[in-house]
Symmetry: C3
Subunit: 269 residues, 3 copies
Amino acid sequence: MIHPSAKVGQNVTIKEGVIIGENVTIEDDVYIDYGCIIRDNVYIKKGSFIGAKSILGEYIVDFYKDRINKVNPLVIGENALIRTESVIYGNTVIGDNFQSGHKVTIRENIKIGNNVVVGTLSHIQPKCTIGNYVRMSNNCAIGDGSKINDYVWMFPNVVLANDPTPPSDKFLNVTIDSFAIISASSLILPGVHINEDALVGAGAIVTKDVAKETLVVGAPAKEVCSVRKIKNKFTGESVYPWRYTFKRGMPWKESDYDTWIQSVKFQEK
Amino acid sequence: MIHPSAKVGQNVTIKEGVIIGENVTIEDDVYIDYGCIIRDNVYIKKGSFIGAKSILGEYIVDFYKDRINKVNPLVIGENALIRTESVIYGNTVIGDNFQSGHKVTIRENIKIGNNVVVGTLSHIQPKCTIGNYVRMSNNCAIGDGSKINDYVWMFPNVVLANDPTPPSDKFLNVTIDSFAIISASSLILPGVHINEDALVGAGAIVTKDVAKETLVVGAPAKEVCSVRKIKNKFTGESVYPWRYTFKRGMPWKESDYDTWIQSVKFQEK
Amino acid sequence: MIHPSAKVGQNVTIKEGVIIGENVTIEDDVYIDYGCIIRDNVYIKKGSFIGAKSILGEYIVDFYKDRINKVNPLVIGENALIRTESVIYGNTVIGDNFQSGHKVTIRENIKIGNNVVVGTLSHIQPKCTIGNYVRMSNNCAIGDGSKINDYVWMFPNVVLANDPTPPSDKFLNVTIDSFAIISASSLILPGVHINEDALVGAGAIVTKDVAKETLVVGAPAKEVCSVRKIKNKFTGESVYPWRYTFKRGMPWKESDYDTWIQSVKFQEK
């Protein structure tokens, strides 16, 4: 059931059982797999793949009073790969080359940059800002209003909290600066600021700010050392800041971080 | 595909791809979104909204031997708002004004009171009893037979366990008394009783009973102080017991807890 | 929509809205509930039940470049009971009598033995090997390449990690030996080897190998005692190794472990 107002580009595949609402734009080379629901005012840019049974432009709370869908547009950037049964709300903008696992939930009033990955069953609550090249593994729960800068990594089961005296109406948001790494099953408490290149150890409960390039572990998390002291178990070489030792999927993958950042700076002049 | 035995009230919306089984009652003003499966013997009270692709009256284990659905009724109270892809089993009763996030799982032999909220991806196992005005955030896992009283709050990733010597066949259930608060990512061990107005800190592992109005933190959780000593970070004022400082969505929202409870007691006379 | 190449056995039920791709074999007495997607090259053995809206033979990453499905067969053994909305990838083999909860995700290049149970919302990442009679509760996240031997139990929210210096390209896999028990909300760090009959306490963070028949608890987990010292809270009797005290669903359920293992050894001669 495709609403006649839909604008559908060239070479678009729409499989059986797809519902497409009013004022939807689907650019060229998009593939919408079986049973998706694309609600009103969704814009899907070229080359994107929408996994089976996904729901895009999901109703925000203003729908439920009168069951009339208000205008809450969702934009999905170019070349997205959204896996099955993902739910993405209206009033959200996702950049190019987005990838998701299965069954992710992305709420309203969220801005996601380019080249972001969100793992299976992860859940991003309203009003979050997520930079470019952020990688979030499975089962992460990102509390309302979190601010995650570029090149942040989050591993399975990370929780970002936001209510310092639950239940309350005044939230303190978590901020994570660029290149920081949040290891598996760690919990970041409301209002915590994790600075650039910091590393939060697995299972840590982070109750206060983490300084730049600092490793914290434990519950409550305590400073251990500079991340520069951590060695790779296989090679014995330094690992962090990781931008100098890891390049898979990164914009410096063809050379190295220093060469790439110099070229970026040169282009910016 | 709607079974002819279905009783459907006035002003009911049933979207495309919905399956409705035998002996289903749908009261007035119910909205059933795309692709839901309403199995046999489900009763949906007036004004409820059933999110897309939800499954109500799901088979309990007695179905699988002969693939014949036994009579295991599910009742959904008035004005429910059940978000997409939720699964609710037969032999369960849910009160009025229930709200769920996406992809919740609610098993059989559960009794849920009025005005309860269950967050995205939360999972309530069989034989639980959940009071009125209980608020459960996303990704909570509530073990079999847990007893959660009125006005309890549970934040993301809370786990209530039930097997003291796993694997075994003899469970010890968790009990949480009214107005208690279980903060994010905490784990409550089998048989623990958390008393009224207690506060479990984020990431705590609670191995023994928690006294009334007591804050516990850590792993294993230890008593810190009375909850009355906790101050709001913004205002410096006392926060707990929270019923005196928080009213959003509560029955005392129009006045305050004391005024409301007096009026309730007056009416009860 | 059933592709004409499908081979469908006797007494097969295929409910409304099911999609069946090319080169699919469905043996006798299989039941495929509403809205399932069975992609190409899936083989479902006799007596299996596929829960509503499940997706079998899900695309692996090689699909997305040209949107042509390569040959990545999935085999589901006899008498499976797969609950709703589960996603199982191609290039995976699952043994007989498999049971899953709802919304499980099982990725590619996985080998699962017979009589395995995987709970609701659990997620098994690629290249894992899982033995026979493994029981995994809800919300477990099993990292790439984990090796789980026979009769292992894992309780809710267990995470097996795999990257010792995240982000990296060189993983260290977790190995769990037979009869070990991993309690709720525990986290096993990369490369850890948990030996036979060990018991990991609830909420533990396991940073190094755990010796045979040893109880570890805490974060980081520390040795407490032999599992043989743990008593049942109700009876005061020894509980572990659990194969001598628990038999529900086990191959020795009709007698006891010793009698059964003797008969197995006798048959093997």
